[in-house]
């Protein structure tokens, strides 16, 4: 299909002897949101972190199979991991602003990627903060520490920071799990806007959230992909009993 952005094919992942992902095959479509759900330890974060090769830093990690982004295998030895991570941005579960000013946080990705022109950095930082729906709240205090922001604002700052390097895909690892309902609603609204320009893969523990924001949903359990379908189908008439049990909250 034309609009497949990411294609995982028989992807296996091991931590040492432990097989964390088993034969995962899944497609992520361009400008759509893929929600990944599943009980703790089911491998959903491992899968997410494979998509930008953040698992490379883990000692003893191994993989089999392939993950194609724009039809190129990201595990191909010729692929530059730095290039992949620029193209595939990431927002972590615990917001991790750097101990710098708000502006410096957003500018960081641009600076390490060799951008020196201050006007250009300013312009892109402003655009990223606007895209992350944070600009109006911080425009008068860009030089203040990022730690002065509230939890929800910090997470949106991390999103702005990821947007600044102009990725094509954004990975989100339970981005709202530590936030209150109001801040969560803002993040969800933001995700809906972002998918116009980006492809989004989001891991979440929250069924309602997955149902609200994702176009496609993947249900992981014990390292296996149990079910993968459009969100509307999965949350109304799942094809497997275990999926139904999980999304109706009978375990997990």
């Amino acid at each position: 299909m034309e609009n497949i952005k990411i294609k995982a094919e028989k992807f296996n992942f091991y931590y040492g002897d432990h097989k964390a992902l088993k034969d995962i095959s899944v497609n992520v479509y361009k400008n759509k949101v893929l929600g990944i759900i599943g009980p703790s330890g089911c491998g959903k974060s491992t899968f997410l972190r494979s998509l930008n090769r953040m698992n490379d830093v883990i000692i003893g990690a191994r993989y089999e199979g392939s993950i194609l982004i724009d039809r190129r295998n990201i595990f191909d030895p010729r692929m530059d991991v730095v290039e992949i991570r620029r193209k595939v941005g990431m927002v972590f579960q615990k917001s991790n602003p750097f101990p710098k000013s708000i502006f410096e946080n957003v500018a960081y990705g641009l600076k390490i990627n060799g951008k020196k022109n201050r006007d250009l950095i300013l312009e892109k930082a402003e655009k990223s903060l606007k895209d992350a729906a944070l600009w109006n709240e911080v425009k008068d205090r860009l030089d203040k520490s990022a730690f002065d922001l509230s939890g929800g604002q910090q997470q949106r700052l991390c999103i702005a920071r990821a947007l600044a390097v102009e990725p094509e895909v954004i990975l989100m690892d339970e981005p709202a799990s530590a936030l209150d309902p109001a801040a969560t609603a803002k993040i969800e609204e933001l995700i809906q806007q972002l998918k116009e320009n980006y492809t989004i893969v989001i891991v979440t523990h929250n069924m309602q959230q997955a149902a609200r924001i994702s176009d496609y949903t993947a249900f992981f359990m014990m390292g296996e992909l149990v079910e993968y379908d459009t969100a509307s189908k999965m949350f109304t008439s799942p094809s497997k009993k275990i999926t139904e049990e999980y999304i109706t909250g009978r375990f997990g």
């Binding site: 953040m54 730095v82 972590f92 991790n96 750097f98 101990p99 990705g109 390490i112 730690f147 390097v165």
Partner: protein
Amino acid sequence: MNKNISEKTGFSILRLCMAIVVIFLLVILFDIISKGIGKVNWEFLTQPPRRGMTEGGIFPAIVGTFLVTLITALLAVPMGMGCAIYLNEYAKDNKTTRLIRMSIRNLSGVPSIVYGLFGVVLFVQLMHLGTCILAAGLTLGLMTLPWTITASEEALKNVPQSYRDGALALGATKWKAIRTNVLPYAVPGMLTGTILGLARAAGETAPILFTGAAFFLPFLPRSVFDQFMALPYHLYIMATQHHAISQVRPIAYATALVLITLIFSMNLAAIVLRYHLRKLKKE
């Protein structure tokens, strides 16, 4: 009731331990300050010793200690930080790494005289440096290395992993992530530990005894290949090796006072640095 008594006795014993330590420290400080302060003046700090070291000042010893500590720092600071960065950021956590780390910890417990003798063999004889500032500084540098490595590694460990991950996820190479998003937050802690190590080196006698410190020199060192006078060694001579005991005793006390002041100010600098670091972290 019984509980109360044992509680009180326990605390009293702990308090006594504390008091004894403080009293010893105060007695030593009082003794040195009261007997040395009268001799310390501008002339004492800026003049060389005269008349068989019974008069004059300790300027060459101050210069010598300063220079040798500088050499120590030039070796121990970059190498210590480099080793720490490698161990903490790059080395795999396997047997070899653990063995290296354990050896480094053990090296910090090796008596300083052993470093002194090692310095003679390696720098003075094998490398033909002769007895000089460079040989003594390198010897002290080797002695300080375990301290700077350990302190620097601790400082690196205190930087949250999320700073590294965040930078990598934005497309930083590993070294770039370390340089721009780890080191800036580790350096103050690294420096704190390093200064404490250097302060210890500046007060050492044994490692410089055979590697470059001189009994008396009528001139200041002109290069790193000259011998030098040093405060701790000068103090040792004044206290035990000089024949005119009553004449040089005040000089010995004054030298001790200058040395203690120097080391105290270095430690104070480290404390101030640590204080600012903590304040930064809270923000």
